[in-house]
């Protein structure tokens, strides 16, 4: 029983990270209908920035905050400079740009910070409470993720800029007619996605260690989370993330063994796409012909 609780809590901790990656994907998908394949590598690169700041002697939370801000600015800049020119281009053009970004960030990280695996610190105490069931980092990272979600929710729900972002995602043409700068809203969406990804990266790095390929698997889980919740529904992605995290851990511990864990995500993706492509909470898209 104790082991089961331990697996569930660890699953929730991973789930929070998958949820954030899923959320980052959904934020961009909602407004552009594109899946940003470079989301994971952007998060990895952000984590390297945090690592460099820590090496330079910054305190943890200072480096954390600076990384989130730099990532936001970086995401915004990528959208403005690289993606704005292909805004109206076909999907395939965008996909190629995303893959390009993925490769660029991956090689850039390897080139600047080299490929050796580096430890990344956790800001949370090493305590293992309640009879060694729960680790400090698991609890802390769940808390950080919940704070991120709460902040994002408040932004989208209660601020004029958040309302404008939702309006621009939903009906860009009408949004322009009321004076919303839709293209800039996409930029802000990219900034927010990059910032959320950065947090996820810094939370997962103490567990998986820091190297240029650390986010590959995580992004797959994030994609599974987003699909499970419904690719156009941010809160669905969050719930999907926690479900995927727990499911993956329980199956890994009791059914299929840890080596096949990543397969869970892939099987889930294929299953959802074939059986219920709109996910648990997504809306069916009906096109009038």
């Amino acid at each position: 029983m104790e082991a089961l609780i331990q697996q569930v809590v660890a699953g929730l901790a991973n789930g929070g990270i998958y949820a954030s990656m899923g959320l980052a994907l959904v934020m961009i998908y909602q407004s552009t209908h594109h899946i940003n394949f470079a989301q994971g590598e952007m998060a990895m690169f952000s984590t390297f920035i945090a690592w460099a700041l820590l090496q330079a002697g910054w305190p943890y939370w200072g480096a954390f905050g600076a990384t989130v801000l730099i990532s936001f600015a970086g995401g915004l800049a990528i959208q403005r400079i690289i993606l704005k020119p292909v805004e109206k281009a076909p999907v395939l053009t965008n996909v190629i740009v995303f893959i390009g970004l993925l490769v660029i960030f991956n090689s850039l990280a390897g080139w600047i910070f080299d490929h050796t695996i580096k430890p990344f610190p956790s800001p949370f105490p090493k305590f293992t409470g309640a009879g060694k069931l729960i680790s400090g980092h698991d609890l802390g990272s769940i808390a950080v993720m919940l704070v991120v979600l709460a902040l994002l929710y408040s932004f989208l729900r209660f601020t004029p800029a958040g309302l404008a972002m939702r309006a621009a995602a939903q009906n860009p043409e009408s949004a322009r007619l009321v004076g919303i700068r839709v293209s800039w809203m996409l930029g802000v969406g990219w900034g927010l996605s990059a910032a959320i990804g950065a947090v996820a990266g810094m939370m997962v790095a103490p567990v998986v260690y820091l190297d240029p390929n650390m986010m590959g698997g995580i992004l797959l889980y994030g994609f599974a989370a987003a699909l499970l919740g419904g690719i156009d529904n941010p809160w669905g992605a969050v719930i999907g993330g926690f479900i995927v995290g727990v499911l993956e851990n329980l199956l890994g511990a009791y059914v299929i063994g840890t080596e096949l864990k990543l397969t869970v995500a892939l099987v889930l993706i294929v299953t959802i796409l074939t059986i219920k492509p709109n996910g648990l909470f997504g809306k069916a898209v009906v096109t009038r012909v």
């Binding site: 009906n171 007619l177 919303i180």
Partner: protein
């Protein structure tokens, strides 16, 4: 009266297809002007060209400034509100959020709150449904919402694309009466696109008749109403 809108040689394209062939028209400050015409005559395209939503050429002057070639959102910020074809409702947002979005570019919070109250006073149905998803409203209610949302911008010019479309006759009467009221009481100028010529000629002081992308006839509404061809082709008597 001063000229608020001056359009000269307006042409517009959908890809390679030309939809407007050099049209000229004016709109007086405080007035209502109607663009009449059959389906496909280019009425909606004219409105879309004015607010920079389709590729166009020609000159458009609004309040003595050239606005051709500007971005849609900048034209909106200058005080041109558009009630688009299909009403442009943000259907997953609430009625109140739709109204707030109408005032997105305004910074005078007290004024926005007061205008919101005025909209609810004018359209009590919207007040009853303020927390409801806008997509669940009836067609008439959505048209009321679209007009209110446009007015929340405090526009100098209101572009109306077929406000009677798909509505029950009683509702059409109600909407047109309110448009007249808004024009008289608040001095909002309007450019009205309508297929229902008799309704439009009653509301508007001046009208232009579009045929296949060009102006076929223009003049004061009273004169157009008496015109033989307009009567036969558009008024049906």
């Amino acid at each position: 009266m001063a000229r608020l809108l001056e359009v000269r040689g307006l042409t517009a394209f959908y890809g390679e297809t030309q939809a407007l062939f050099g049209i000229d028209f004016d709109l007086e400050e405080g007035g209502i002007t109607a663009l009449l015409g059959a389906n496909g005559a280019g009425k909606t395209t004219t409105l879309r060209a004015l607010c920079g939503a389709v590729k166009m050429r020609g000159s458009v002057r609004f309040a003595d400034q050239a606005i051709e070639g500007r971005a849609t959102e900048d034209i909106a910020r200058m005080g041109v509100a558009h009630v688009p074809d299909g009403r442009g409702t943000f259907s997953a947002l609430t009625v109140e959020e739709n109204l707030k979005l109408g005032a997105y570019t305004r910074r005078d919070r007290a004024g926005v709150a007061a205008d919101m109250k005025r909209m609810y006073a004018r359209f009590p149905r919207l007040k009853e449904r303020r927390a409801q998803q806008a997509g669940t409203l009836s067609g008439g209610e959505q048209q009321m919402l679209a007009i209110s949302r446009a007015l929340m911008l405090r526009p100098r010019l209101l572009l109306l694309d077929e406000p009677s479309f798909g509505l029950a006759p009683l509702m059409v009467g109600e909407i047109f009466a309110i448009l007249g009221e808004i024009n008289r009481e608040e001095g909002v100028s309007m450019l009205l696109v309508e297929q229902n010529a008799s309704l439009a000629l009653e509301l508007a002081g001046h009208a232009y008749l579009l045929e296949t992308g060009a102006i076929a006839l223009s003049g004061p509404s009273a004169a157009l109403r008496r015109d033989e061809t307009v009567r036969k082709a558009y008024l049906g008597y």
